[in-house]
């Protein structure tokens, strides 16, 4: 089975609600009492659509996505409701979540170097993920892997599969993480700052790749970044976060053309601009 | 009297006469120093040599004086000598063989002595070097060839020419360096230490230094030719390198093969554990036949004053020293230099105190008289071993009461004798011991108090006593050809020397041994530092 052949059974109906998050709160116990790093976040992702989450560093973007995966760091607890295709995820045990992870939801983690096991070749790590859900022979898995690597523009993929993570550059590692998620063909893909380590040129290619994937498989996507410009290009809906709170939510157009929250406006205003050094808003402030 | 404290453990030793056969096991802490009789020179190894070697004469068997008596072995008698005792003739018995079956001849005895004179190995008993008439520069058989002063007119006769009259020569030929070796069997200086050639009832079949030593019967030894050795077991097996406390525990437990085992003296710590009737039945005791004493370096300032030395003699709490050594079961208090096992022993106590606890007041008075009203201090050389440290600490404590400060100079066990035997390195005093090479004052007092025997290195007159009167008296006694007269004279000399107080006699230490329940014929041999006589011991029932 080739990666490009879509699995018809799992193609979600475009526009159907894939993920529904309501009143999500993530709490960590600290020496100074429990801290809510995500407070009362609610949003939904439709099949084939992309939700962009923006916000400053530490605003709880990663924690929100980890809560969906059921992979919060030790001590973290999530309350509220997370429904995938209508099924509640928060109530599930780790064992049950295991069937969701990788199969239904895949994630591209923020820090690509540390997210790959340095002791195994990248090929092995991707194969492992593929075979955990699709079974099949190692040979087939390997072919799928090479194909996925080629799709993320890793040159000489058939040779590179046998290399170890540290032998790749930061940008390549990030692409390897994306390749791993791609070959899983999930219903929902969560990409946590997947392009931060990339050159602007490669970034553009990857963004195109993700869009293509969505078109083909109808995958829903959560795209986390702090780069407003990037989010404006990929997202259908945008969620703005600050200090764990959800500041504003809306379609991309709404957020960028008619921002309501002070914070969103300030953020947009502070954006350095390549096209015009003399900020057009100067007069207004 | 302190010496008579020695308990009597019955005539023929424990468990009656052994039955021939079986394997006797020996648990031992340290390996034997040398299997080469030219090199080994201590009670333990001399005891062992009798199992594999024979000499012209040897010590007897039995407790007390019976054991230290010199009796014929390879020779038919104790030798005959010319008028001034400078020429001694011995005749060999018949039926005496080496382990390969070749008969032992007078030439083999001669070769044995010549070999032992090689400087590279002559570190054992020194008497051959001292009394034989050896030309200047003679360096043993390998370097200098045969020695003219030993003649072998025929295969059975051997004649020794001495450089001085020596009434006790029969005891000298009992010393290990007089062991015969086949002159033409490729024996070298070092070969014997690895692979001995047996002349006694056993031969070495397995030897791993520091671990095990196995003896099996020497088929060519004939019981008829030997009046001394019982040689009951078929084999002996030594285990070396065992911790002292472990040996004691094993002997006390006496399980399994340990029923057929013997070992050396128990440690002080184990004394309390062997008081049960069951173990007491398996316990034997005997004096080691040595004296533990503290020589004082009479050449050091302060110590050169006899009053100071006498004060120290008065102040030492010998009871505390005894306790530190393991109490009454392991030591008797010494007031004389010569131990009671030496012929001519005379008892006296020139520096008495209540319960031997020392008399600090009297000592203080003497010190004041000597010009040290504010006390005195000296450095004591001691050996890095727990027993000696305990003794030294007891001395330190008791002298402190008399205002005498003792500082220790702790010397590693291995170099202790080297240091105190080097006149330039020794300090004011030391704790050491001396054992006679045979039961005569001749091998006791001169080596440790004769002024002419002070050497720069390898010195045993640690007190460095060089008293003209003592020196003269030693020379006189030595010239006596009547052994009994000489013995009595040594006893008197002991008292004469102690008046000068060159040393503090501390203890006559004892050996206390627990043997396995199947052991028979074990007794403490006074000639071998109180060790169990190996040639008389055996198993009660070899089948067990």
């Amino acid at each position: 089975m080739s990666i490009t052949s879509p699995r018809t059974i799992s193609i979600p109906v475009p526009g159907a609600t894939l993920l529904e998050v309501e009143h999500l709160t993530v709490t960590f116990p600290t020496s100074a009492g429990p801290v809510e790093v995500v407070q009362d976040a609610s949003f939904r992702v439709e099949a084939g659509d992309t939700l962009g989450i923006v916000g400053e560093s530490g605003s709880g973007k990663s924690m929100t996505s980890l809560a969906i995966m059921g992979l919060l760091p030790r001590g973290g607890t999530a309350t509220g409701s997370i429904r995938l295709n209508g099924h509640e995820l928060l109530a599930r045990s780790d064992r049950e979540m295991r069937r969701v992870r990788g199969d239904k939801v895949a994630m591209v983690f923020q820090d690509p170097l540390s997210s790959l096991n340095p002791y195994y070749t990248v090929g092995r790590q991707i194969e492992e993920a593929y075979r955990a859900h699709n079974g099949g022979s190692r040979k087939n898995a390997r072919n799928v892997t090479i194909e996925a690597l080629e799709r993320v523009r890793i040159a000489d993929a058939s040779r590179r599969v046998d290399h170890y993570p540290h032998q790749f550059s930061g940008g390549m590692r990030q692409r390897i993480m994306i390749a791993m998620a791609l070959c899983l063909e999930p219903d929902l893909l969560i990409a946590d700052e997947p392009t931060t380590a990339l050159d602007v040129t490669v970034q553009a290619q990857i963004l195109e790749l993700l869009a293509e994937l969505q078109r083909e498989t109808g995958t829903g996507m959560i795209f986390i970044t702090h780069d407003l410009a990037v989010v404006s290009q990929v997202a259908d809906d945008v969620l703005v976060m600050k200090d764990g709170r959800q500041v504003e939510r809306g379609t991309a157009e709404q957020i960028f053309s008619r921002p309501q929250a002070q914070y969103t406006r300030a953020l947009l205003a502070a954006l350095p601009r390549i096209d015009d050094p003399f900020d057009r808003l100067k007069g207004t402030s | 009297s302190p010496a008579s404290d020695a308990p009597d453990s019955g005539g023929d030793g424990i468990g009656g006469t052994p039955t021939a056969g079986g394997t006797l096991r020996v648990l031992q802490n340290a390996d034997f120093s040398h299997l080469d009789p030219a090199q080994g020179f201590d009670g333990g190894v001399n005891n062992f040599y009798r199992l594999i070697y024979r000499t012209l004469t040897t010590q007897g068997t039995g407790e007390g004086a019976e054991g230290t008596e010199i009796v014929p072995d390879l020779a038919t008698d104790l030798g005959t000598h010319n008028d001034d005792a400078t020429e001694w003739t011995f005749t060999l018995k018949d039926d005496i063989f080496f382990e390969d079956g070749t008969p032992i001849t007078s030439a083999d005895v001669k070769f044995g002595v010549e070999r032992a004179l090689d400087p590279s190995i002559s570190i054992g008993s020194p008497y051959a070097k001292i009394v034989l008439d050896i030309p200047e520069g003679y360096e043993g058989f390998y370097s200098s060839g045969p020695l003219d002063s030993i003649e072998t007119p025929d295969e059975k006769t051997i004649v020794f020419h001495l450089n001085q009259p020596y009434a006790d020569f029969a005891a000298v030929v009992a010393q290990a360096p007089f062991t015969p070796f086949p002159a033409d069997a490729g024996v070298t200086t070092t070969s014997v230490d690895q692979q001995p050639i047996a002349s006694g009832p056993y031969r070495v079949t397995e030897y791993q230094r520091g671990s095990t030593l196995v003896l099996e019967r020497n088929e060519h030894w004939s019981k008829e030719s030997d009046d001394v050795r019982g040689a009951y077991p078929d084999s002996y097996e030594w285990s070396f390198g065992l911790d002292g406390a472990t040996i004691d525990e094993r002997m006390i437990a006496g399980q399994g093969d340990d029923r057929n085992a013997i070992a050396g003296s128990v440690q002080a710590a184990s004394i309390a554990r062997i008081q049960t009737p069951e173990i007491q039945e398996r316990t034997i005791q005997g004096l080691q036949g040595c004296t533990t004493y503290m020589p004082m370096n009479t050449t050091k300032p302060g110590m050169d004053n006899p009053l100071v030395r006498q004060a120290i003699n008065l102040a030492v709490d010998k009871q505390a020293v005894k306790d530190g050594t393991g109490g009454s079961q392991l030591a008797d208090i010494a007031t004389t230099m010569m131990p009671p096992t030496v012929a001519g022993f005379t008892e006296f106590d020139l520096y008495p105190s209540d319960d031997f606890a020392g008399d600090p007041e009297a000592a203080k008075d003497l010190l004041t008289e000597a010009g040290y009203p504010d006390g005195f201090s000296f450095v004591l050389d001691i050996r890095n071993n727990p027993k000696m440290q305990a003794q030294a600490e007891a001395i330190q404590q008791s002298l402190a009461k008399a205002g005498i400060t003792v500082e220790f100079n702790l010397i590693d066990s291995s170099t202790f004798y080297e240091v105190i035997g080097t006149t330039s390195q020794q300090h004011d005093a030391a704790i050491t011991g001396w054992c006679p090479d045979w039961a005569s004052g001749a091998t006791f007092l001169p080596p440790i108090f004769e002024g002419t025997q002070i050497y720069e290195k390898g010195n045993s007159n640690v007190a460095q006593l060089n008293d003209p009167a003592v020196n003269a008296r030693i020379a006189e006694i030595r010239a006596m050809t009547d052994v009994d007269e000489a013995n009595a004279a040594w006893g008197e000399l002991d008292e004469q020397i102690m008046e000068l107080a060159p040393a503090v006699p501390l203890l006559f230490e004892k050996a206390v041994m627990v043997v396995g329940s199947n052991i028979a014929g074990a007794y403490a041999h006074a000639g071998f530092s109180g060790g169990i006589d190996y040639v008389s011991v055996g198993l009660a029932d070899p089948e067990k």
Binding site: A204, L228, A229, S232, S257, R265, L281 | -
Partner: protein, 282 residues
């Protein structure tokens, strides 16, 4: 005023790396900076842009005299400082200061802010007229921080505040040239803007010159007067800011500029209008 305060001529840097202390390990040579020449006009800002690994930091470190160039010469105010004497180096240090990329890692976490800011004075044996303490307070206020924070430790500040402490330290010895190596890259867009603002103010006030390094083209566009574009150790294009951004000549500069993601200009316009309308209402 086009007189240049600093000029670099044909500067190259070759790194020779050896395998871990090995006896026979071969060495590899890597040219990080290759024949680079540029000038920094007095009172102006030279921006250096380029992808990661293109040699920007190495150039900065050469210019700050933290490493020696393999080839080429450096002139500061007309004096050759390629191989300065001890005294000349000390003088150079008091005229040229560096603001580092990561605000926290460039501040010793075990030192108080006061100690950090006054360190260059101590190191150079300078005693300010008004006293060290007063100078530190003055500098803190100048960079917009509370002067009472002098006894705090870097860990007690936010990234933007910490970066300003770094700037205050650079200003302590009254330098003429400040080298900013990715001085704002680690900061949030909002804080970034504030720091840039501060740098601009200081330039206007004190006539400082900057070498401003960044990989973010937009940031450079905001602050630089002239821009140099680096790629693979070389300067592929340099010139006036507007010329570079408006009419890039070199292929590399063009792809770089083209790939920068941008927000839909329609939306932008709409927003500007909306905000303007709101402002009118207020």
């Amino acid at each position: 005023m086009t007189e240049s305060i600093l000029s670099a001529k044909h500067v190259s840097k070759v790194f020779v790396t050896r395998g871990d202390g090995a006896v026979f390990a071969g060495t590899t040579r890597f040219t990080a900076v290759d024949d680079v020449s540029f000038e920094v006009p007095r009172g102006k800002t030279l921006g250096i842009v380029g992808e990661s690994g293109s040699g920007k930091s190495t150039t900065a470190r050469i210019v700050a005299k933290l490493i020696d160039p393999t080839e080429g010469t450096l002139e500061f105010e007309g004096d050759d400082v390629t191989k300065p004497s001890g005294r000349a180096l000390a003088a150079f240090r008091s005229n040229v200061q560096v603001v580092f990329q990561d605000p926290f890692s460039s501040l010793n976490p075990r030192h108080t802010v006061e100690k950090i800011i006054s360190a260059p004075l101590d190191y150079q044996g300078i005693t300010p007229k008004q006293g060290k303490r007063a100078l530190v307070r003055e500098l803190l206020e100048r960079v917009g921080l509370n002067a009472d924070h002098a006894q705090r430790y870097p860990g007690q500040f936010s990234g933007g505040q910490a970066q300003r402490i770094g700037i205050a330290r650079a200003l302590a010895v009254s330098p003429k040239l400040v080298i900013c190596d990715e001085a704002v890259s680690a900061l949030d867009v909002s804080v970034q803007a504030r720091v840039i603002n501060l740098l601009n103010e200081l330039q206007a006030e004190l006539g400082l010159s900057y070498v401003f390094i960044a990989h973010d083209l937009a940031v450079v566009r905001q602050i630089a007067d002239t821009v140099a574009v680096m790629s693979k150790g070389r300067i592929v294009e340099q010139g006036d800011r507007d010329a570079i951004f408006g009419h890039p000549q070199h292929e590399y500069t063009k792809t770089l500029l083209a790939a920068v993601p941008q927000i839909n200009p329609e939306w932008e316009l709409e927003r500007v209008r909306m905000l303007a309308a709101e402002g009118a209402v207020e």
